[in-house]
Symmetry: C2
């Protein structure tokens, strides 16, 4: 048992002063009281889940910003480079990169992550001796870094909506539904060895990569959350429209049992009617604003989504620059660039960053199916401490603390992060940063000719 | 005299290994040779100028992200809050905030700054006993922080293009052209006390705030660079169109002697024809992508500008989040969100970040009228050192170093920054960070009820 005290904390009803949070030995919040005396921390916030990540892509950050013969000037040319890159990764590489990305996520203020894991097989598409080998590596990395993991094994079984075979770059992902069921069994064994705040879901990759008949079968293989990429790119919308006679979101609404179990990633290409109808299902929109900008996906219709009561959360996806503050900021700034207004996602009661963080906390909890996202008894102790002496926080109270975090420089005020009570970041540094970074560096040195 | 050596450096002809740079005692580069032995630094880059800043706005960062009674949901409501805020600032506050912003700029990799300085008078619009008091405070802050300063006293003489009087929030800026001439004389005296890499220019604030007849008079008062806000907001375009019968850029092209002396800030509202014609003048477009996103200005037509041979540089403007990497990234990401392509500003020979940095180096030199922007003899020794052991740089060579800097996390790899040979940042920290930050904190505590 431990007790954390804060001068200011963000509770479900809003900001409160002199708060004491008691953690039990299982990493849950046991009690929250006010009126405590001397505080151990200046500011305590609930730490959200990162609801969408492909950890291995962290190692490509900064390597695909060129034109020319090795072009990366669209999502699709970038994907070709990504396929070429991942074809060199060994299980050791996958684990080293994941541990590094997880440590960065914790330092950025994410307490947990939903890893959308599709890199299943050895180069050439040959299954490993243990078919769940790479999932085990992701789990080992999460255990090492101390992050809460929701593992989402991915079904990826075709090269396009016409049912064509996988391209050479895709064969490391490939499963039919039976092989996927075996992968899910392996993943269950793996996750049984992780802490109680870790869990399992499943992810049909996208309407491009999964046969319609298999969508229901994936959902039947788990009680956990279901995640799928949806309506990210214009060519994808056109491909689905041509093959299925409907736009992706319209098709999914008509043919899938969408609801709160689902987290639909990106949704950057929706009509106003699709936006309203999808929001009404209670599914979470999994927004990855920094990656969506990097890949030229487009701008999520956030105002229409929120007006329709839609739920959303934040993910770091390609992990090109892992930053909770950065994802919050890019979400709002993309809206401003489009609408030419400010404070687009604020409401009369909450500032811009407060409303975005509130959504990310609830959406992240729903998308990982974990009791988290608020400082209340029974929830995992997923917490961020901020240093009130940071220059951007000296004059900040209430919601302006979060605005300073997302829009100014108070991201650097993060001192401590706890994931289900595991105190993994202190003094702004992950406890094992040096060791995890040294391993990542060695991996990167081996991969130098990869692109 | 000192000698810096680097394993890799960005020279005018491209990346070179084993480079030695000799600095003379005046802070200029005296000699550049290759084939040096053991290196003192891993990577050395030329450090650009920050071509647009209003330092006092740094203190508002994070405080204007709300709706409701104290709305800040458009550029114009934000401007009302900004006017209310600045009305509380004393000369001491102005100096403390400027020193803090300058130290942050240096830590971010900017070696110098063009300060667009319009806060001339005491509250109520009363001139200080020394009319150049606030300019002297900016200069003192620059000297304290060790940044190269180009001071741009601003002429601000009307409340709108109809010639109306200044609003109460604007009276601290107000000058007629005669009072401005006196301010310029005071500024000359002030700048004579600064190092040789500091200089003076002038800035008619905007077509909104300056009478057409005064534009030529401002230009005649200095041999230095001329800066002006232009075509930032749609309502501004409409106001100028109504009053003058032409859009702002069209009007400026027809009525001003535009050319390489000019730096035109924002230009986010231009037609394709305006873009081509303005680019052809040789003026620098002063882009401030993070502020332009924050204020909902819109997206600069960068592709058309660059295709027409247009020059540009980068500025931090409102200073809401001072970051060279952040400005580079937001410039490119706004283009990607609009065009739905990647690597928009790359060309076949240079990566995205390389091409942006090349432009920012040349544009910043032109906009400050200083010999800087390249590692060549005769230029100021404006330099950035990066730690090659940063995880994002371990596998990076050539242009990917800059892509990792702008798009991944290698901003944190900055170890050292020199401004005209002044070695002001070491180990990633400004040498006087603690002292300058303590003073800024005290200022912020005094200003707590300001918005």
């Amino acid at each position: 048992m431990q007790i954390l005290t804060a001068r200011t904390a963000l509770l479900p009803d809003g900001w409160a002063n002199d708060v004491a949070i008691t953690l039990d030995d299982a990493g849950r919040i046991a009690q929250v009281t006010q009126g405590a005396g001397a505080a151990t921390h200046d500011i305590l916030l609930p730490a959200p889940a990162n609801l969408h990540s492909h950890t291995f892509q962290r190692a490509m950050a900064g390597l695909t910003e060129r034109r020319g013969p090795d072009a990366a000037d669209s999502f699709w040319t970038w994907r070709r480079l990504m396929f070429r890159f991942l074809d060199q990764l060994t299980p050791d590489d996958i684990e080293a990169i994941a541990a590094f990305a997880f440590a960065e996520m914790l330092e950025a203020g994410f307490a947990r992550v939903a890893e959308f894991h599709y890199l299943h097989h050895a180069p050439g598409g040959v299954p490993y001796a243990d078919p769940a080998e790479t999932g085990a590596r992701i789990a080992a990395a999460a255990l090492d870094a101390g992050i809460g993991l929701t593992l989402l094994p991915v079904l990826y079984s075709q090269g396009g909506v016409d049912g064509r075979a996988l391209a050479p770059g895709q064969v490391r992902f490939g499963c039919d539904i039976d092989a996927f069921a075996a992968l899910m069994q392996g993943a269950e064994r793996i996750m049984a060895g992780l802490p109680a705040d870790c869990g399992l879901g499943a992810a049909p990759h996208s309407l491009r990569a999964v046969r319609p008949a298999d969508l229901g079968a994936v959902a039947a293989l788990t009680d956990g959350p279901l995640h799928m990429h949806l309506a990210e790119q214009v060519p994808e919308v056109e491909e689905v429209q041509t093959a299925y006679g409907a736009r992706p979101v319209d098709w999914a609404l008509a043919n899938m049992d969408l609801g709160p179990r689902w987290c639909l990633i990106h949704c950057t290409q929706m009509t106003a009617a699709e936006t309203r109808a999808l929001a009404a299902t209670g599914a979470v929109a999994g927004l990855c604003p920094e990656t969506e900008a990097s890949l030229g996906d487009g701008i999520f219709p956030a105002e229409g989504w929120v007006a329709a009561g839609g739920r959303f959360g934040l993910g770091t996806d390609s992990n090109i620059r892992i930053s909770l503050a950065g994802e919050m900021r890019m979400l709002e700034y993309a809206q401003r660039l489009q609408s030419r207004r400010r404070a687009v996602l604020a409401d009369p009661a909450r500032s811009t960053a407060r409303r975005i963080l509130d959504a990310a906390l609830a959406g992240g909890a729903q998308a990982t199916a974990q009791p988290t996202g608020a400082i209340v008894p029974g929830h995992w102790a997923d917490l961020i401490a901020l240093d009130g002496a940071h220059p951007d926080l000296v004059a900040a109270t209430g919601d302006t603390i979060l605005d300073a975090f997302a829009f100014a420089r108070a991201e650097a005020a993060i001192t401590d992060v706890w994931s289900a009570g595991r105190h993994v970041v202190r003094g702004g540094r992950h406890m094992a940063r040096d060791r995890i970074t040294a391993r990542y560096r060695a991996t990167m040195r081996r991969l130098t000719d990869r692109l």
